[in-house]
């Protein structure tokens, strides 16, 4: 058995839900559709008739609505996995930094700055790289 502390972490990390069997089951149809987007012809078919394509893959009403609204947090909630949602996002011209902004409520510029701020906090670009710093940010 997975130990209870690890199971608790699946839903216990702030701002994070780990993709496990519960979510994988919920999201199978949505992720199957996204997997189909590896083929250019399927991307074109989706763009030609979004809702029809979603129905063809058996998405639930909730999943179809999340896709129609481009609502990434809702897509995660209904079982979408980010590796597969990234293929859907690509059809909309969105990259993972756009996805980051959509999930955090930041603008894309703010999201990019958030990464740069973390780099500055870590001393990146100030010549301190490689300095040993064996401190955990999160107790485990």
């Amino acid at each position: 058995m997975t130990n209870p502390e690890n199971l608790a972490l699946r839903r216990g990390i702030a701002g994070t839900v780990l993709f496990d069997g519960e979510l994988a089951s919920r999201g199978l149809a949505l992720n199957t559709m996204c997997f189909s987007f590896n083929e250019a012809a399927n991307r074109a078919a989706f763009l030609a008739d979004e809702d029809g394509y979603c129905r063809q893959y058996g998405l639930t009403a909730e999943q179809r609505a999340a896709v129609a609204r481009r609502d990434v947090p809702a897509m995660l909630e209904v079982g979408g996995n980010v590796y597969y949602l990234a293929k859907l996002a690509g059809i909309f011209g969105l990259n993972v930094q756009d996805l980051g902004a959509l999930q955090t409520g930041m603008s894309v510029a703010e999201f990019k700055q958030y990464l740069l701020d973390q780099a500055a906090d870590a001393g990146i670009g100030r010549g301190t790289d490689g300095v040993s710093s064996p401190i955990m940010g999160v107790a485990a």
């Binding site: 994070t16 994988a24 997997f35 999201f111 870590a122 064996p134």
Partner: protein, 281 residues
Amino acid sequence: MSATIVGGYFSSHVPGIGGAIARGDQREAYWKPFFDGYPPVQRWLADARPDVAVVFYNDHGLNFFLDALPTFAVGAAAEYPNEDEGWGLPVYKTFAGDPGLSWHIIEELVGSDFDVTMCQRMKVDHALSIPFELAYPDADAWPVKIVPIAINTVQYPLPSPRRCHALGQAVHRALQNWQDDTRVVVVGSGGLSHQLDGARAGFVNADYDRFCLDHLAADPQALLRHSAEEVAAIAGTQGVEILNWIAARGALGDAPLCEVTRNYHIPISNTAAATLVLASA
């Protein structure tokens, strides 16, 4: 006989790196601190002359899907093509395989109670290709054959760091018993800390990343005390790609290693990116 393990090469594999290479952005201010980490890798590989790379990586939905997802999968194919991963980007060069060595590794793994999936047809995605694009930027054809070993880092339950390290150790035993002195480089692809999904998207943890970089060579046990879930808490949901580095470290064996080069940079896209070479002493 025994294969000659020349060392380990570890690299991040963000898809955007492929885009930067295609655009020729290596010297742009955003990318330069990252790409500057690779000339030492290229020089080391030119000197070490590996024939085969045993590559630990995670597939992002090119060869495998969530409907039938192996925890550990070993390629045993004569060739490994890349294909469209959904974004219509240029396709990476096909790798040649070494089926004889693949089956030998599979025999050792299953004999050691690692019941792996065996793949005679296997596509490899950016996670496998990008470290080689970075290491051999001018190659018309890849100068090494590969044995790809895919680890599930996407759908929980994931294998633990301890189990991934033991998998690597079993691969090491297989290399020690190989029929000739094939020169082998072990590759760990992915990481370091990053998170693509959820309200915590964009999270990185330089302290944990430096801890990993500092301990991987001399004290890999330090990285094994966390569960996969704990690594996700510490290093982000995709920070669990460190499992590939941990498995690769196991495949290097217990003999002393020396650090040839190291680079660490934040950010590449949403990721804290790292490059490391550990040579057999």
